[in-house]
Symmetry: D2
Subunit: 333 residues, 4 copies
C-alpha cells in the first residue's frame, strides 16, 4: 500500500490539493540530531520554479514535525512530518474532471475507487508526494555516515547535453523525458539478500514509486544483454573485493560488493504537456481534443535527482539497520 | 529475506547441491485442482539440456507435495513443494572454492555469512532455485483465469534474430546476454497501488529475484526518456479505458489500465563462461587466471521466459487477491 | 513497531505532551461516509473528567483530517487523523524526571532510547495515544455493518458491583484495577487462521497495546483450566454452527464459529497512584519516597471499554477484509 | 497466516495425517552449530505416550534438514525442517467425518475452506504442528545465550498438586485443563516496543497459536485487577532496574525491565474426551450422541511446557535480533 521498509519504515500520505502531504517514519534510531534546517537544501532542490522547464508552482514546503522529535533529536518513537498545501488552485482541475488526462491516473483511479478519489491535481496520485520521500531521504542520509549518495541527470530527450535536450522541448512546447543516474560510494560488502530482498529488488521497488519512472538498470544494465561473458565479468582484484571493472554496478548476487553502486532510471515525458491531446470525454463518451491546464513541468526529470537520492538513501538505511551497521541509539543524553 | 507477496505469499529455500530446493506458498485459495502433471510443462521449459546453449545438467524435477494438497485439490493450508537434487557433482565446485568466481555471489556471500554459506554450485545463491519460482508460477497461472501471461526471448547478444545471436556466442565459446519480454492480456483495470505497491514496483521487485537480471522497463521503457510528451501519451479511446497506443505498457499511475501489460528484462551473460578469466585466489591473495568448471549455460536468457512468466503470474495473483477478484474458496466439496 | 493490521493497517504516533497524537490508516475501503461527528460519541466516552475516578485532564479532542477524506467520504488513499495537544502542563513532569515512576516506562524507555525519549507525561508511552486507537475504532465499526461490538466494565477492585469497587479506591485514595469484557454479535463463521493469525492471537496482540492490560482470556478463559472436557465442550446444535453453550467464547481452532465472541481483559491499577511510593532517584542513585504529581485516573479501567471496542473493531475489520466480506469500494460517485 | 516474526521468521506447514509437518525459518544468523541431536531432548519432552494422561501415539519425530544447514552449521539461508508422519491411522478419522467434533475446528474449517480441508486428525489444524514450533524453539534457545527459558505445569484441573488433578481426570475418564507458567531469566532491559509490538503483544500473539490456550496473563495478571496501585507497583531499587517486587512480571510499558519475565497460560481440557458427547450429524442434520475415537491426551497441558518454552524463545530471539543483541554471524569459518 503506502508503506515501505522493514526496520526504517515509511508511510506516505496526503493529496496534492488537500490539506497536506506527509510522512510517518517508524524505526528511526534514537539520538539523531534533526532540525528543520536539515531539510531545506534537499527540499529546495526538489522545488519547481527555479529551473527552466520546471513548474512555477512553489510551496513554501517547510517541514512541520508532529511527533518523534524532542529537543532537536529523534526520540526513537515514530516521526511524523507534514507539509501543508498553501498554494493550490483547484479550480484548474475541477474543469478537467470530465477529461481523464492521458498518462495520468485519472481514469484508472476513478474506476478503482468508484469515483471517490480526490481528483484535484492528481490527488494522492501526484508528484507532490515526493516531497515526503525527500524528507525521508534527508533523515536516511544523516544515518548513512561515510556513505555518499549522489544522483544527476545524464540525458534529456535523448541528448547527453541536457541543456540542449531541454531547449528542444522548450522549442517544441512539449514535455520531454530524461535519464537520471545514481551513484553511491562507501557501502560495505554484503547489504541485501539473494532473492526477494536483493539490493536491486528493493531499490527497483522503491524507485517505481517515483511517478514517471519507466525503467531501471544496474551497472551496464540493458547494454549487458548485448555483451559476452568475458567482457561483462568484473575480475576481483583484492581481498576487499575491488573489481577491475564495474559492469555489475556494485551489486553481485543481490548483495553490494563494496564497489561503487551505479544505477539509472528512465523518466518519461510529463503527461501534462502544454500540447493539445486527444482523450475521452466522460460525459459525451467520445474522444475529443483537450488541453491540460494548470502549472506543470516540461521536464519532470529535472526534479528527480534529489528524489532518487532520497529513495536510494532510505532503502540503504533500512539495509544497514538489517545488517546491524547502524545502531538503534546513536547518541545518549 | 526469502519471502514475497502479501496474500499469496511465497518463501523459497534450498541449495543447488544440498538435499533439495523448494517453496512454501501461504494464502493459496482452497479448492484449486492441482496435480503433479500441472507442473510438468513449465518445469520442462525451464530445464537445461535440450536447447543449444543451455546446460547439460538435468534434474528429474518432479514436484513433491509435502503439505496443503489433499485429494488433488488445494486445502487452503500452506502448500509446500520440494524438488530433490539428484544429479549433483559437488566435487566440481570444491576445487573452485579458492577462486571466487567473477560475477557470482561467491566472494560477497563468504564475507556476509562468515564462510558458513553452502558454496557448492552457488548454494542458496543459485539459479537452481528458479525451479521453485516456476512451481509457484504454475499455481498462480491456474488462479489467473482468463488472463494470459506469455514471455519470449526477443534478443540474444544484441541480435533480434536470436538464433544468430546465440550462434555468435557458440562460436566465441563465451556466454552471452539477452532480452526477455513478457506480455499479459485479460487484466482488469486497477490492480496495484499508487506508490510503493505500484504494479511496476512489485513486478520489478520480483523480477530482480531472478539471477542475472540487470534491468527492467515497462512499455516504451528507456526509449520513453528520449520522447516528447505528445508522442508518448496514450489517448484514451473509450469507456473501457482502451488506449490508441500503448507506450505505457498497460500501467498508468501504478495501476493496470486494462490494456496489455508489456515489460522487458535485460539478462546479463552468464558469469560462468567457459573462457579463462582473471580473479582473486583467496589463498595466495593474488589475481590469477582461472577457468570455471561445471555444467553451465552459454545463454541463461534461454531458460528465463518461463521464470519470468512465473514471477509475473504470482505478482498478479497476489494483486488479484488484494482486489478481491479471486475468491478465497474456488470450489466446494 | 507502531503498526498493526494487514489490509486495514494502522500506524499510531505522537506524544502525550508533544504537538499532537495521531493515526494513519492505510487500506480503508473507498466510499465510506465519514465526518467529524462520527467520532464525537466514542471520543467523549474515552475522555477523563466526567466520571468519578477519572482524570480531570480534558482535551477538546476534535479529530483533524489531514488526508484520505474528500467530500466527507473516504477516498481509498491513506487516512491521517491528528489530535492536537492543547491542554498540557509539562512542568508537572519535568519535576519528576529524576524519579522514574514505578510501573511506568520511564526507567526502561530511558535505558532503551539512551535518554532521548520525550519523557513528558510518558511521551509516546502514554495512554493519551489511545485516542488514536479510538479514532481507528470509529472507522472500523462503520465498516462492520451488521456486527455489534460492545465492551463493559464488569469488575472494579475485585467487586462486580463496580460502584462499590470504585468507592473503596476513592476512600483508600489509591488507584485500582478492573475487568473489562467485550462481546461481539453478528460475526460470520471462519474469520481468522489456525495458528499465528488466529482470532485470539490477533485480538490478544492488539489488546496488549492498550496500556495497563495484564491479561486476556476468551470464553471461559482461565476457568477452563479447571474444567473437565465434557463440561467445557460446546455441543453443535445446527447447520449454522450454533452451540448449546459458549465456553469457547465464539472461537474454535482459531476461527470465529458464528456464536457470540466473548473475551475479557484484566486492567492493573494505574501506576500513578496519589499515594507515596518508593522509587529510585537517578541523581542520588538511592531509593526514596516519592509522590507522583500530575492529573491521573484512579481507575483507568473506566476509560478502557471504548478503547477495547476500538481494538476489537479494527482487528475484526482487518479479518473481514481478508475474507473478502467487506468490499474495497463501498459506494460509487 | 502461518508465519510469525520479523527478523527470525517462521512459517509452519503440514497436516496431522498428511505426508509431513515442518517449518521454515528465515533469518537465522549464520554460524550456529546445529545437529539432529540438539533437537532430541525437547522433541522427547513434547511426545505423548510416556506420561500418564498423554496420548499413546508416538512419532519417531526425527528432524530432517532440507535446507539452510551445511557442515552442521547454519548458513544464513532459510532453514527447512521436516517431520515425517509415519504413525497415522486415518481410518479412525474417516469414520468421524460426519460428526464435527465439539471444540475442534472440524465444523468451522469445513465452512471456511468449502470442504476442501484435510480433515484427517484435524489436518492442518492439529496439535501435531507444535512439533514444528518446538524445532524452532530449539534453534531460538541456542541463539539466546545467557538467557534461560523454563516452563512448568503449575495446575491441573484446578489443583496445584498436579498429580492429584490428573488422577481425578483419569478417574472421571474425561479430559482436563491446566495452567502452564513460563519464567525467563537473563533478559536485557528494553526488548519490545510500546504499543503493537509490546513484549506482551508478541508473546500473547504467539501463545494463542498453541492449540487449546484460552488465556494468558503476565506477572500478577488477572489478580492485578483486584489490587490497589500501591500494592501492585514495583519499587525500582537500583540503577540496573531491579524491582523489590515483580507484580509486573518483568514487563513495563511493553518493554522488558530486566527482572524475571513471568507469565502463565490457561489450557482448556482436550476436546477429544473419551466421554460420549452431543454434536451435529452433518448427514442427518440432527444432534446425536457421539464418541470420539482415535488416540488422544487426557491432559494436553502436560505436553505444553516445552511448546510454551519454544514459543517464548522464538519471540525473544526475534526481539534480541531487532535490538541488535544477537549478531547476524555467530562464528566464521
Amino acid at each position: 500500500m503506502n508503506s515501505f521498509g522493514r526496520l526504517f519504515k515509511l508511510t506516505i500520505f496526503g493529496e496534492s490539493h488537500g490539506e497536506s502531504v506527509g510522512i510517518n517514519i517508524d524505526g528511526c534510531p534514537a539520538g539523531l540530531p534533526l532540525t528543520v534546517d536539515d531539510f531545506l537544501p534537499d527540499i529546495e532542490r526538489r522545488k519547481g520554479g527555479t529551473q527552466k522547464g520546471a513548474t512555477p508552482r512553489q510551496e513554501t514546503d517547510l517541514p512541520i514535525f508532529k511527533s518523534g522529535i524532542f529537543n532537536d533529536t529523534t526520540t526513537g518513537a515514530p516521526i511524523t512530518i507534514l507539509f501543508e498545501n498553501n498554494n493550490t488552485r483547484s479550480t484548474d482541475y475541477a474543469k478537467q474532471r470530465s477529461h481523464p488526462r492521458p498518462g495520468h491516473a485519472d481514469f484508472v483511479a476513478s474506476k478503482k475507487f468508484g469515483g471517490n478519489e480526490d481528483y484535484r491535481g492528481g490527488g494522492h496520485f501526484s508528484g507532490r508526494l515526493t516531497v515526503a520521500m525527500v524528507a525521508a531521504g534527508v533523515i536516511a542520509k544523516k544515518l548513512l555516515q561515510g556513505i555518499e549518495v549522489k544522483a544527476t541527470i545524464t540525458e534529456i530527450g535523448g541528448d547527453t547535453d541536457t541543456e540542449r535536450g531541454l531547449q528542444k522541448a522548450i522549442e517544441a512546447k512539449d514535455s520531454v523525458g530524461g535519464i537520471v543516474e545514481c551513484r553511491v560510494t562507501g557501502l560495505p560488502i554484503g547489504l541485501g539478500e539473494h532473492f526477494f530482498d536483493s539490493v536491486e529488488s528493493l531499490l527497483a521497488h522503491a524507485v517505481f514509486a517515483i511517478p514517471a519512472v519507466r525503467g531501471v538498470e544496474f551497472g551496464t544494465g540493458f547494454a549487458a544483454a548485448k555483451m559476452l561473458g568475458k567482457e561483462h565479468n568484473d575480475p576481483i582484484e583484492n581481498m576487499e573485493g575491488k573489481t577491475t571493472t564495474n559492469h555489475a554496478g556494485g551489486v553481485v548476487g543481490g548483495y553490494t560488493n563494496g564497489n561503487e553502486l551505479v544505477y539509472r532510471i528512465a523518466i518519461k515525458p510529463t503527461s501534462s504537456t502544454p500540447q493539445d491531446q486527444f482523450t475521452l470525454n466522460w460525459e459525451t463518451q467520445q474522444m475529443e481534443t483537450f488541453a491540460v491546464r494548470g502549472r506543470h513541468d516540461l521536464c519532470i526529470a529535472l526534479r528527480v535527482p534529489v528524489v532518487l537520492e532520497a529513495v536510494t538513501a532510505f532503502v540503504l538505511a533500512d539495509l544497514m539497520l538489517l545488517e546491524q551497521r547502524i545502531p538503534r541509539v546513536l547518541s545518549t543524553k
